[in-house]
C-alpha cells in the first residue's frame, strides 16, 4: 500500500495530531525561556514528554494501523517506558536542584512561593 491510499480523514487527523504534538512540545520548550528559575522550568519540559509525545504516538498508531490494515498498538510500549523512566530523571534533577539551593542558603527549601 502506498502513502496515497491513506484516506483523507486519516491523513487530516494524523496531521492534526502531529501538529498539536509539535506545538505542545514547542510551548514546553518556550517555557525554558519564559519561566523564572530551574524548578519552574522543569515543568515546561514535561509537556513534550506527556501529551506532546502522546499526540505523536496516536498519529503513529493511526497511520500504521491503516497502513498495515490491522490494529497496531506497539506505540503503547513507548508510553509505558516513558512514564516509568522520565519521572526518575526529573526527580533526580529536582533533588540535585534542592541540594544546590541548600548549599547556597544552608537551609531546607520552605513552603510557599519561590523567592528568586
Amino acid at each position: 500500500m502506498t502513502m496515497d491510499e491513506i484516506p483523507f480523514w486519516a491523513d487530516l487527523l494524523g496531521s492534526l495530531l502531529l501538529i498539536s504534538g509539535g506545538l505542545l512540545t514547542l510551548i514546553g520548550s518556550l517555557g525554558l525561556l519564559r519561566l523564572p528559575n530551574l524548578f519552574a522550568r522543569m515543568h515546561g519540559v514535561t509537556l513534550g514528554n506527556t501529551l506532546g509525545l502522546g499526540c505523536v504516538l496516536l498519529a503513529s498508531i493511526l497511520i500504521a494501523s491503516i497502513h498495515a490494515e490491522r490494529f497496531v498498538f506497539q506505540e503503547v510500549l513507548i508510553t509505558l517506558f516513558m512514564i516509568s523512566t522520565s519521572p526518575v530523571t526529573t526527580i533526580l534533577l529536582m533533588r540535585s536542584g534542592i541540594y544546590r539551593k541548600r548549599a547556597d542558603t544552608e537551609k531546607e527549601p520552605v513552603s510557599g512561593q519561590d523567592t528568586n
Binding site: L24, I27, G28, L30, G31, R34, L35, P36, N37, F39, A40, M42, H43, G44, T46, L47, N49, T50, L51, G52, G54, V72, F73, Q74, V76, L77, I83, S84, S86, P87, T90, I91, M94, R95, I98, P109, V110, S111, G112, Q113, D114
Partner: protein, 162 residues
Amino acid sequence: MKRWPSLTLFTVILFALWLLLNDSLAPGQLLLGLILTVIIAASTAAIRPLRAHPHHLLTAVGLLFVVLIDIIRSNIAVAGIILGPAKRRFSSGFMKIPLDLRDPYGLAALACIITATPGTIWAGLSPDGGTLTIHVLDLQDEGAWVRTIKQRYERRLMEIFE
C-alpha cells in the same frame, strides 16, 4: 477481589511485553516468550526484595484513566501559564502535603504520577514518610492541590497497594 501474587502478575506483564515487542502470536514466539519470562521472573526475584501486593485491579484501571485525564488537563493549564501573563509565571513554589500512604510500591507509583503530570514535581519525602514535598508551577491554592493528590491519587493507591 483477592490478593494477586505479584510474581504471576509480573510474569503476565513481561509475557505481554514480549509479544507486543515481537508483534506476533506465532506458537514459537509464545513458547519462547513463556520460557524467557519465567526464567527472568525467577532469576530477578532476588533483586526485588519487597513483594508488592496489588489488589483491586479494577481500581488500577480507574486510576489510569483519572491520571490520563489529569495529564491532558494539566498540559493545557501549563501551556496556558507559559504563554500567559508574567504574574502567573512567577507563582511557582514548594508545598508540603501530609501523607498516609506507606507502601513503597504505592509511593513509587505516586511519585511517577505526580512527576508525569505537568505542573507538579515530586521533590522529596520526609524521613518518617509522613510529609511529601512537591514543587508546583501554579501555587495559588494550596488546598486544591492537597485535595487533588489525596483524593484522586492517594486514596486509590492505598486501595490498590495496602
